[in-house]
Point group: C2
Chain length 511, copies 2
């Protein structure tokens, strides 16, 4: 396979290695050659605390990280417990509030027809719980589909939420919960800055139980909700711990009917949740330091506890996703482990964040919908008449180029990832790779893995060409929530940053 | 070193291997030689679901497990944020409840004099928060010391709890919180059956923030609270997810003054939290299956998510606890990693449980206080006039014998543990050990490790003799909460069970 035509990418990568970027760790401006191992090679960090500690912390970088996760229940058949869970929650309320309890069940038109919804409805009926169903969730929700769900919720005096579906359903339910608790606000109050105001959520939201039907998004444990803004041709969202479900019920029965292409795309999301959170800027390099713990973002940067989850989920996904590709319904062990991986990766990135692959995926997925029909991509097994680059595929398209780009920030971590991709039998091969070559090596390993699950080989395979690079890169720029966690990226000079993003996209055209 | 004089232990061990114990996994009665790999050798399990799944679950074993953990904040210096956290919590209340807010700060007389309490008080004062301090927590709390704390709390209209100290302080604060929410109940309503009634906690308790000053108990993230019942000569407690702190603030500054012996004993607790939870009966063999998710115990048995934490914490403790022993105050990296390990082990065992070492520790610690002075043990660096076998030491005394005993239940898991103790350079040596010898091998590895941190070499070194075996074994028998999670143990025949426990204690006399 010829190397990607990455002349511009190579130049930009070189630029970023020699540029005088401010070092967040030691506070000085220096080249990457400067020996600031504790911040640049965070693969080697053991202590994982800022260099100016202990004592009263100085500087403007953060010095703490927080781990918050929804309570999760894993069990084949556990969905049928959901009625009792809601009954238990309602029993905690004063009598007058118990009488007013009303559950909203969110789902999409496909899942509405599946056995999982029958199980859920029977579980609610068994406990005599009053519920209403909203089954109009869109795949890849938009402003308009969120508004529809929010308006419906506000008109229904909902007290408890139950989301049954994939990321689109869980995310829409989170938004509907939030905006029903803030009846006089609109979604832009909370959408990430600079697209929205990014106002911190200070209220305690209503209880939400999430029952995922894909092994992907991890939304059952995160405070993240993503939507498409067609007018801007990118996706963005809301990220706050306050959005976390109260409980996630993770049940292998619920992925038994998931179509192969959907399961694979979802699994690719898990793969890069893991790898991006593992390689994100460390929490003690993130600025600004919050002046109140409430303002410490959910996407904090990599940290020692998220690392445990992210690495485990990466191992599982590399092992089991190819088995899902081969036997999406029959291989129950693979489905079980992918669900575990999705949720644990969710805990990992939910407290660390993701970076460049996700930043790239938002315009890649969104722009596809607005293009001339002959340039659009239609993914097999989703609705064939709707142009769609599934989120997991969109994330994967840039990944080989992304990790080639980020490797100089933490060669040790990228080497660990390469070892997991290569497998136990090829550890000696990985050991021979020099630090400066580990990015190129990892790039090839990722490409081989993506080939094994039939991902399109780069942006050209989903209809994009060199002429689209600038608009895609400009669509990445407002994704500050994730770009700020991208290593190597020069964030204080927009011209240079845009150049780097264009370089990454150019390197993602084909493999 | 001569082998332990374990004639009786060997016999009982052999008995337990050949006894016709009912197999919870396959529901049949058979000898351990029967090939029931999915249940007896859960080291090899990949799927980790009961054999009668998928489909509507059958049988009386559980089929699901739940992961619940307190939100944890890790950061050197993060204690100073606690005033803002409490202010943020109080701001969520209606105005009249805000006006009535009153914080109880629990601590012990030693910690009360340390810098951490100054930091905490300043943080509360800065936010103008009303608080009262209860600084009479006993090391190794008893019924009476719990009653004192509960009475004080009930008399003070407390709305929020803040525990600053080790396990004794955090556990007492949990009990005080619980009993102030149930003003007409006494502690035996909730203490584990059969000692107490073990009534499930159905109310939502008041907010509790825990600030640990030792790296040990993990109480900052668990729903466990332990106390000594002197009249019965053993310790027991309350275990319920409802007791979990709302937030744990884990700050390396707060262990900086911890005496060496206290830090080592605390670290031994982490070691065996990890190893016991990793080797506990798997969740899908635990009976009875709960008829409501509220009744699923926090101590569920080993499960794939707890495993991730337990294994990681085991690795950290084996690496860093000897460094704490060598340099308890200066080695900041070791203190940092031990705090991370304590909390992650807490998440692990908090959702899986512990078994025989902990069951043994309760009478071992308690009986010591009631013996003639010439037979009592006084641990260096704790109050020299008080007879005390610190909890972590008490847990360690039986550990070599315990894991020798449990190894046949899951040779693969015990081999993994042996590999971690032995270290990377000796993996080839571990690989040569046959499955039937892995228990003896692990026993020696644990003994070497305990020697490296100067743990007394067995029960004889803390004043016990062969004549004490029966009373100690009988003190273990009521610890059903943990004994039910012990592999190999014959639970449906008390005579055989008592014999096995005596065998374990006999094997723990000296090494």
């Amino acid at each position: 396979m010829p190397p990607a035509p990455a002349s511009r990418a190579s130049i930009v990568r070189l630029m970023s290695l020699t540029a005088s970027a401010g070092c967040r760790g030691c506070g000085r401006s220096h080249s990457a050659a400067h020996a600031c191992a504790s911040t640049h090679d965070h693969g080697k960090r053991g202590l994982a605390t800022p260099v100016d500690l202990p004592g009263a912390p100085q500087g403007n970088t953060d010095y703490a990280f927080e781990m918050a996760a929804s309570t999760l229940r894993f069990g084949t058949g556990a969905t049928r417990e959901v009625g009792m869970d809601l009954r238990n929650m309602i029993n905690l309320l004063p009598a007058n509030e118990q009488a007013a309890a009303k559950i909203a069940v969110f789902t999409d038109p496909n899942v509405a027809k599946l056995p999982v919804m029958k199980t859920v409805e029977q579980a609610l009926q068994k406990e005599n719980l009053p519920f209403v169903v909203f089954d109009k969730i869109s795949v890849e929700p938009t402003e308009n589909s969120w508004i529809e769900a929010i308006d419906w919720t506000r008109g229904n005096d909902i007290t408890h939420f139950l989301a049954v579906g994939g990321g689109s359903t869980m995310d829409t339910a989170k938004a509907a919960n939030l905006l029903s608790c803030y009846p006089d606000k609109d979604m832009y109050e909370f959408i990430n800055a600079p697209v929205g105001k990014g106002t911190p959520i200070e209220k305690k939201l209503k209880p939400l139980i999430a029952v995922p039907t894909t092994a992907g998004t991890g939304s059952e444990t995160t405070g993240t909700a993503i939507l498409d803004i067609p007018s801007k041709k990118f996706k963005t969202g809301i990220a706050s711990r306050a959005l976390k479900p109260t409980l996630g019920i993770v049940d292998t029965l619920n992925t038994a009917t998931c179509p192969r292409e959907v399961a694979v795309a979802a699994g690719l999301d898990v793969l890069f949740h893991s790898l991006e959170s593992y390689t994100a800027v460390p929490y003690y390099e993130r600025t600004p330091r919050p002046d109140n713990p409430l303002k410490r973002p959910a996407y904090q940067g990599s940290n020692p506890v998220s690392d445990i989850f992210s690495k485990w989920a990466l191992e599982q996904t590399i092992k089991y996703l190819p088995r899902i590709f081969k036997d999406p319904h029959g291989d129950e062990e693979a489905r079980h482990q992918m669900l575990l991986a999705a949720s644990t990766a969710g805990i990992g990135f939910g407290n660390a964040g993701v970076h460049l692959c996700h930043a790239g995926s938002y315009p890649i997925s969104s722009l596809n919908k607005a293009r001339p029909k002959d340039k659009q991509y239609f993914h097999p097994s989703y609705s064939p008449e709707i142009p769609l680059i599934p989120h997991g595929v969109a994330v994967s398209l840039t990944a080989p180029s992304v990790f080639h780009f980020t490797a100089p920030s933490s060669p040790e971590r990228h080497r660990t990832a390469a070892e997991i991709f290569a497998g136990k039998d090829r550890l000696h091969e990985v050991a021979k790779v020099r630090d400066e070559d580990i990015g190129a090596f990892l790039r090839e390993e990722i490409q081989k893995f993506l080939d094994s699950v039939a991902v399109p080989r780069g942006l050209t395979q989903v209809g994009y060409g060199t002429s689209d690079i600038e608009i895609l890169a400009r669509g990445m720029l407002p994704q500050r929530r994730v770009l700020d966690l991208a290593p190597v990226l020069i964030k204080d000079n927009q011209t240079q940053e845009l150049e780097q993003l264009q370089g990454i996209l150019e390197g993602a055209m084909r493999w």
